[in-house]
């Protein structure tokens, strides 16, 4: 049995430079057994570099990687044998689907019969039964990525490394595969490091996530905690929220805290005591807007009168930035709602959100 207090993967003081430019500089990265940890960030944030370093595929300029508390290097093949990776492009080898999936088993000296049995079993799990004997180079993008996942999962790895596995797929296939990947990872219980720049994807698959920017971690924690509570303006902008709202807990009743944010009362669920200075966040998707003259009958604890400061079209939705007596936050509304409410700069609206939708953290 593994010791739950020791991270399965631990990287400490890792630094990597490419042509004298620092691309990765982190103090500590840890992933515990069975969890899916997403590395989220824009291009060039150092996510893939970190994945390759903890996957022992690249030697860092400085720092130490440990697997189950044992220090390892890129030369530690036994540690590498505990892992398997899926990259942005599937990079299938010449041969059939079965030969591709069985490649890692062949490297491990698994007998032909056992290989065949395990390959047949895994193609069923990833939904490729009909293509087992097809040439790997004739597959569609989605099928090829399933083969790549099967090729990794068939090894029954302790650690699975996924480097933007869905980024090259078209949106429809991507949506299907995100759900499938999430299910397969959950069912297999494998410890996973999942690199992506797609927040939705990260929120679906991950248990914990780290946001990276310019080679450093800017936020690490549980998915809801990180995605619902920005700690600085860059993180807020990246995750699609307004700048962090600062306030102080001034009251507590029936587990609901009253937080004074720029003289506006916000209600939230928190275990922090009265008098604590806090940072507050609410995701735009959790905010519902109503016309100023149509106050809703709602059980929500937060009903704020606001003035619209900006309306930004975002595809199927619009992002509405508002000011409620000095409190700045945003709402995501459908295009139809935006038209119905006749939202424009200066419009008066009522924003409604539940106390449970408000993320609260102690201000540092």
């Amino acid at each position: 049995m593994s010791d739950k207090t020791i991270p399965l993967i631990l990287a400490e003081s890792v630094c990597q430079k490419y042509r004298r430019r620092v691309v990765l500089d982190i103090d500590r990265f840890e992933v515990f057994e069975g969890e899916t940890h997403a590395l989220l960030g824009p291009s060039g944030a150092g996510k893939s570099t970190l994945l390759r370093i903890v996957g022992l595929l690249e030697k860092p300029d400085a720092g130490v990687v440990s697997i189950e508390g044992r220090e390892v290097t890129h030369r530690s093949r036994s540690a590498r044998m505990m892992m398997a990776a899926v990259f942005q492009k599937p990079y299938l080898f010449n041969g059939t689907v079965a030969e591709n999936i069985g490649y890692g088993l062949k490297l491990r000296g698994v007998s032909v019969a056992e290989r065949s049995r395990r390959v047949r079993e895994i193609v069923g799990r990833v939904g490729l039964d009909d293509l087992i004997n097809a040439s790997a180079l004739t597959l569609s993008g989605g099928e090829a990525q399933r083969v790549a996942l099967a090729r990794a999962l068939v090894l029954d790895p302790r650690i699975l490394l996924l480097d933007e596995p869905l980024s090259y797929l078209d949106p429809l296939i991507k949506r299907q595969l995100v759900a499938d990947f999430s299910r397969i990872l959950r069912d297999s219980g494998v410890t996973t490091v999942y690199v992506t720049h797609d927040q939705d994807e990260a929120m679906v698959v991950a248990d914990r996530l780290s946001i990276m920017h310019e080679g450093r971690f800017v936020r690490t924690g549980g998915v809801d905690e990180v995605m619902g509570l920005p700690t600085n303006e860059w993180v807020a902008d990246f995750i699609g929220m307004e700048a962090p709202i600062r306030g102080r807990i001034v009251g507590l009743k029936d587990d609901v805290a009253e937080i004074d944010c720029s003289s506006v009362a916000v209600h939230a669920i928190t275990s922090l005591p009265i008098g604590t200075d806090v940072v507050v966040g609410v995701r735009p998707e959790d905010v519902t807007l109503f016309a100023a003259d149509g106050l809703p009958a709602s059980s929500a604890r937060n009903i704020l009168h606001c003035v619209v400061e900006a309306v930004e079209p975002r595809g199927a939705t619009a992002r509405v930035r508002m000011n409620a007596g000095g409190l700045h936050f945003a709402a995501a509304v459908s295009r139809a709602s935006a038209q119905e409410l006749q939202l424009e700069v200066g419009s008066a609206v009522v924003a409604v959100f539940k106390a449970t939708a408000v993320r609260v953290g102690a201000a540092s």
Binding site: R80, A85, K89, Y103, L137
Partner: protein, 234 residues
């Protein structure tokens, strides 16, 4: 036109008659070039792999040397081997000059850079991620090399074909180090030179036809390989 037509008729008759002289020369040519390209493969493919994937000090200079070697005039290669194997040369005691091994050595010198250079280019075109993928699935450096060469096999085969094509048709080097001795070191290209000088255009042309035929097959193979193209990803 008469002399050309007469030569063509004589050449066809010679090939059809199966003259032992002709076939002795053809087989020696093929044997010398096949052995030479075999040695060039043993040296050139691993070297090409290292130059293709390696990130080591001196790699760029090594590539420049190899690329220069790809354009080495055969007659210069022959001259170098001649000087090494001549009585007063550093390897004169081996007494290899004007022998089949001397011709093989000269052809190895010509074909090795060709095999190495084309192999290096084809290996370098295999995406790094494919090698990382193999490594991430547990491949050792050796297994990774085998997979990479397998994935670049069309380019590697083209390298071998280019190496063979470069030596089967060259005349300068084998003339200098082989001496064009009948029943000993006479190959197709040196025989063509000799027969043309003697005015035996029919024999020269017959050998020329066969050489062109071999060249046609080689280039046909090369073109087919290039056209088929390799795909590494989907």
């Amino acid at each position: 036109m008469g002399v050309i037509w007469d030569a063509v008729v004589e050449a066809v008759q010679l090939i059809g008659s199966g003259a032992p002289y002709l076939f002795e020369i053809i087989f020696l040519s093929l044997r010398v070039s096949a052995i030479a390209v075999g040695i060039a493969m043993i040296v050139g493919i691993p070297t090409g792999y290292l130059l293709g994937v390696g990130r080591f000090f001196g790699r760029r200079l090594s590539l420049v040397v190899v690329n220069t070697g790809m354009g080495l005039p055969p007659v210069v290669a022959g001259l170098i081997v001649f000087m090494f194997l001549s009585r007063s040369g550093p390897l004169g005691d081996l007494r290899l000059l004007f022998s089949t091994p001397a011709m093989i050595i000269a052809q190895v010198l010509i074909s090795t850079p060709l095999v190495t250079g084309v192999t290096a280019a084809s290996i370098a075109s295999v995406p790094l991620e494919l090698r990382l993928q193999a490594r991430s699935l547990g491949a050792s450096w050796w297994q990774e090399a085998v997979l990479t060469i397998k994935e670049a096999r069309r380019g590697v085969m083209a390298a071998v074909v280019a190496g063979f094509g470069g030596i089967i048709s060259e005349v300068g080097a084998v003339m200098i180090v082989g001496g064009n001795i009948e029943h000993s070191t006479r190959v197709m290209t040196t025989a063509i030179v000799l027969e043309a000088r003697k005015g035996n255009f029919g024999t020269a042309l017959a050998l020329g036809f066969i050489l062109i035929g071999i060249s046609f097959v080689i280039n046909g193979l090369l073109t087919t390989l290039q056209q088929s193209g390799a795909r590494y990803e989907r």
